[in-house]
Symmetry: C2
Subunit: 219 residues, 2 copies
Amino acid sequence: MAREDLESIVEEVMQELLHSNHTSSEVPIGVSARHCHLDKASLETLFGQGYELSEKAPLSQPGQFAANETVTIAGPKGSIAKVRILGPLRSSPQVEVSQTDAFKLGVKPPIRQSGQTKNSSPFTIIGPKGSLYLEEGLILAQAHIHMHPDDADRFQVRDGEVVEVAVNNQGRAVRFSKTVIRVSDKYQLEMHIDTDEANAGAIQTGQKGILTKGAPTYV
Amino acid sequence: MAREDLESIVEEVMQELLHSNHTSSEVPIGVSARHCHLDKASLETLFGQGYELSEKAPLSQPGQFAANETVTIAGPKGSIAKVRILGPLRSSPQVEVSQTDAFKLGVKPPIRQSGQTKNSSPFTIIGPKGSLYLEEGLILAQAHIHMHPDDADRFQVRDGEVVEVAVNNQGRAVRFSKTVIRVSDKYQLEMHIDTDEANAGAIQTGQKGILTKGAPTYV
């Protein structure tokens, strides 16, 4: 690279640094254990006609909750019991597991954002009143940050943007370079990673990561 | 930060960029499954007097091998069977597990470099001829790169230095920002991460990471 090109890039970066508004870029992190979302039809197949989920505890995202109910998830190589159902009900069933879980089940789920289950892995859900084989709906969740439009303004990011989040712990420090921003006025600021990602960085729920804008560069 | 300070930092960075020798910074990655190192005394307790390990397959590091023999590892909350023994024998026993395994065993091992087992977690090893309770020796391995002195020259790093390694995959890209360099003329170039770290980045053995010198900055 010619020195002049480098100088012009550096000048741009300096301007950005000098004129940035120095707002905090800290984002609280929540570690998502494997979990299950159901629709009305699948809930009734698994738990019986007219069954309704009961709330065990509220989640950080307003209106969402962990239910008292759990199911067993099974694949060609194994099963995992006591997978927590999250409410409220959705328009279609979806299960999010870690890669560690996927090896145990014997499936190769794609890494997706929640709700994007097209052509994801097939699996079986077993409840107390029935079981269900689903052609798709099993995914690994891509790391993402829920945020309110006010947070998006503050961080100067938009829905769907990919950012990097760094977490610095004793012995392990990681940067998640493909973290997707998800903006809604129903959301509260929180980054969600799965248990594999948490373990890789020795991260616990409640810890904070540092958000950096822009796709990472691999020098 | 004053503009002059920033300018002097930027000038330093530019000099480094302009004068870097542009050698490849790619490092092959090996994913380490949980494994066990034994000394002569522990091998004889677990497998019988005069027992010797037999080689199942050579490892990437010259002289090291995966043995045919496996043991069971146990902690206060659970056990894990078929933990592979790696040879040759060492001066003291050591077991490396993932954080996922540690939860299952019910222990909280520190993140350490291999060989640094002082005040690490206690555990039980069970073999076909006996079992052994060890006061320490169970660790989570810190990500590290084995390299020959020639590689160290090429990368301009030294033994013990902490570098960052980036891996960019579909859906997941991570940077391991506390990767320790380990230099020996007995080593062959390879980065070792554990299964949690591999899963967090959708990484498989044989894939390459990009090494970047210097401790990471958290802007």
